[in-house]
Amino acid sequence: MSDWIRAQLTAGLPALAGTSLSGTIVVKQELINELLGDWLAGAGTGTGSTSPDIRNVVRYVTNAAVRAEPGRLLLDFAFAVPRTE
């Protein structure tokens, strides 16, 4: 399953052609700090996770904006995988 997901991400999600998503992800500052700490710890020891090449997926982001409210960040996004036919 993880191999399949990795292959899809690298190939630009051909299985999901025609998919469209949008929304707002709300992230509290505590989570941002926790993730930042994990990332810095991994970067310092060379144990950071290895992600697949997702440049072919990021290009499907049609809208992205970050807003700040007290204690949290709001990430607005829209994402669409073009149809292949």
Partner: protein, 142 residues
């Protein structure tokens, strides 16, 4: 691992379009010697093949969401439903008449995803020739 409660206030919606070939590719990766295959047809119909066994099913327009999300599909054949009722012993599957219900909250493999599954406020299905569309809305309560 990020839990749903850490993203309170998050909302999302959209439609996943899944090619039939992708579903069958995933099914072929199961550890069973004979993997089932599925063919989607317009009108929320699908044909499932498993060895010599064939079954026509109709997907619901929408599935139940909430604390106990349930997916109920309707078999075209009462005989097939009787056969399934005799062989399916999983506690998360129930057969009533031609209706087969899958209780997603009771599937062991999905146990760690329960707090995410509860955040779906709607899940709807539609099919076209060789493709499945799953429309959803999602909200993590504040």
């Amino acid at each position: 691992v990020i839990s749903a409660s850490q993203l309170q206030g998050t909302t999302a919606g959209g439609t996943f379009r899944v090619a039939e070939s992708a579903v069958n590719d995933l099914l072929s990766r199961t550890r069973q010697a004979t993997a089932p295959t599925i063919h989607f047809e317009p009108g929320n119909h699908a044909l499932i093949r498993y060895g010599i066994f064939h079954a026509r099913v109709r997907l619901p327009a929408a599935m139940e969401v909430g604390v106990h999300p349930r997916l109920t599909v309707t078999l075209a054949s009462t005989v097939v439903a009787w056969g399934l009722k005799a062989v399916l012993t999983h506690p998360y599957v129930s057969v009533n008449g031609r209706h087969v219900t899958l209780d997603l909250s009771a599937i062991p493999a999905l146990r760690s995803w329960q707090d995410w599954l509860r955040c779906f406020t709607s899940i709807a299905f539609s099919t076209t020739e060789a493709a499945l569309a799953v429309a959803f809305t999602f909200q993590v309560p504040e």
